[in-house]
Symmetry: C2
Subunit: 395 residues, 2 copies
């Protein structure tokens, strides 16, 4: 038979990154296109220990149905921890455990956005979130990212020119893909603008704990006096992405609606994973673990930036980063970015073309994204060297 | 601030069952309202063994990001197993691993159904699925269930009278909540009607392996010559619901669209759970495990029906069941069902009022659902005895 699809998903396509992964799967290709945590970063021994102990103590609890809201001790711990450590969450907020943070983008959009409503995002922004928004036929409006975050004049213009804005989506720390961190001034300004135009903010913070230089900046959610911020936290980058455990802290009515969405989607998050996360967060030295991760990524990021300086300067430029897993590079002057990326793949190195991260992929950009957490040092050196050699041909 | 929600979720409410669970949480109340597998039914020792071995062999594979489609060996195994054992799936079909079967209902609706499109369901039907459909503002049309499945005349009428029907949703085996199994004749007729009116079928089969008497009946999907059936299978009732692993076998274009939906929702299903399921299915005697489950539930179902005969006859009537976890009962003649259920709760026994399972909860029914897999034998006897005592007051 002939198949027809819903209007909301009719134009949905697999993400461009997925298409690139097909090349990246070729073992002769060096992939700088992923976003996986470094294999060294997993607390594998600890998770193994916890899992074995939980199976001994109460296997049925690990395997039986659980509640949609999430494992109660994990919720209680996170509420306290996030409030005490980061001033994230008030009495008017509640918390929902989700199957990865992507599900927060899904449920926030499902709960809040009618088809044709507007979501303002950074440009570039995380392609996975953009695709979550697109799956409900939201209209995406991109606001250019500068070295200290979104351009606030253009953000205000976007708020002024669009009367059905539902929320502003931002990754304030070590943004994917730009690596940029939003300044405190801009965080305050963004909150103020959201207030002025009466819209919500969806603050996505998967990399916040991975700051390896510079000074900590408070979450926008910590400024939230009138229940305007939906905060998305995740264990994918700091414990394990395969376990799919994340959480959202948001005003109670929004959490309630998202909970009903979750009930009708995957009922609850894998309870084994939730219990293992809880034990790791509370019975082990989580802060020491984060320090260890920061030192792994600090070293890896420095190594990558040194390679870029060595092999790719001055043709390829990039912004220094203070955290996270990504570096945003610009192709040599006069080069055509999609063509450059295509040639790189032909030369056996895979990076993600910057337009994949734009609200309209047809817009132009000279940027591309490289990731340094997934490849080994040898792979990284080989990949960056190839990029450099390619760049020199544009002299 | 004031919160407003999307049209699709504006009227969504937590399911009635959840509300009942609040009473069920009272330790002095006997709950016959859940749908959990019996704690005896979990292969806990085997899962513990597998998990420990996988942590030794390749912890990073358990913890790292994985692909949206699902763990490749699990997909390949299920494709072969379902095709060889049940004639489910052809070369034109593909398979997607999901985070529980509820997610299949979510993604099928998201992919296929515009707001206001019609989904035809059995009446009564599984409340979780109805809520998945409602979350996209689908219009639900219920077709009464008889002792051998949906009334086919009324199904044809529903197909005739609604011109935007997207699919027919059915649980052909030991339906939740009615316990009814659709006859072979009706399976064929349903497929024929779907063909005649050119609609899809969503066949949900969580209980198929839990037949403990009577003869096996082929899946509707096994009749599918023109790619019209989306088949939903699940390990929640036969391995573990807490692990949230299920799968859908459906025409390739539909699987592709659902895969994009999954990418934008939870990215992939917990990979540890997928790997553990795969090992259990392929390295252990899964058929012997199913036999063991069938004997647990055969005994438990018989015990429950005997109790109903002993304490509740003739006032409360019910349909004998051949499989699954639920028995559909009818309140005494002249009794008002919601009032009866309310009194039962006051008398410390919790059952689910039948209207919770209707497409319009305001419709009338004299039925209520009891579950016998979750309570202990003592709890079950106490609960049914209380129902019987209450029923006698209607003499």
């Amino acid at each position: 038979m002939e198949y027809t699809f819903s209007d909301r998903t009719n134009n949905l396509k697999p993400s461009a990154i997925r298409e690139i992964f097909k090349y990246a799967a070729d073992p002769t290709v060096v992939s700088l296109s992923a976003g996986n945590p470094s294999p060294d970063a997993f607390p594998a021994k600890e998770l193994e220990e916890i899992s074995a102990r939980l199976f001994k103590e109460n296997p049925i609890a690990l395997l039986q149905y659980s509640v949609t809201e999430g494992y109660a001790p994990l919720r209680a711990h996170l509420k306290k921890y996030m409030s005490e450590k980061y001033s994230v969450g008030t009495e008017l907020d509640d918390i929902l455990i989700t199957t990865g943070a992507q599900q927060i983008m899904d449920f926030a959009t499902k709960s809040l956005v009618n088809e044709g409503d507007v979501i303002i995002t950074e440009a570039p922004s995380f392609i996975g979130s953009l695709n979550s928004f697109r799956a409900y036929n939201a209209k995406l409006v991109g606001v250019p990212v500068e070295s200290d975050g979104m351009n606030m004049e253009l953000l205000e213009e976007a708020l002024k020119n669009n009367d059905r804005v539902r929320f502003i989506y931002t990754i304030p720390n070590f943004q994917n893909p730009s690596g940029v961190t939003m300044s405190m001034e801009k965080r305050e300004k963004l909150y103020e603008l959201a207030k002025k135009y009466n819209v919500l903010i969806l603050e996505d913070n998967p990399y916040g704990d991975l700051r390896y230089s510079g000074e900590f900046l408070p979450a926008i959610k910590s400024l939230d006096t009138d229940g305007r911020v939906i905060y998305a936290g995740s264990f994918s980058k700091v414990i394990s992405p395969g376990m799919r455990v994340a959480y959202t802290i948001a005003p109670q009515p929004i959490i309630q609606k998202m909970t009903v969405c979750k009930q009708g989607s995957d009922v609850h998050t894998n309870i084994w994973s939730q219990m293992v996360c809880y034990e790791f967060l509370t019975k082990y030295d989580f802060e020491a673990h984060l320090d260890r991760l920061r030192s792994i990524y600090r070293e890896k990021a420095k190594f990558c930036m040194d390679l870029l300086d060595k092999y790719c300067a001055p043709e390829i430029t990039y912004d220094k980063i203070d955290g996270g897993l990504f570096i945003w590079c610009r192709v040599p002057k006069g080069a055509n970015m999609p063509e450059f990326v295509k040639k790189a793949i032909e030369n056996k190195v895979c990076v993600v073309p910057g337009n994949a991260f734009l609200t309209d992929e047809k817009d132009e950009t000279d940027g591309f994204r490289i990731n340094f957490s997934t490849p080994t040092d040898e792979q990284l050196e080989k990949g960056v060297r190839i990029l450099g050699e390619l760049a020199k041909t544009y002299k």
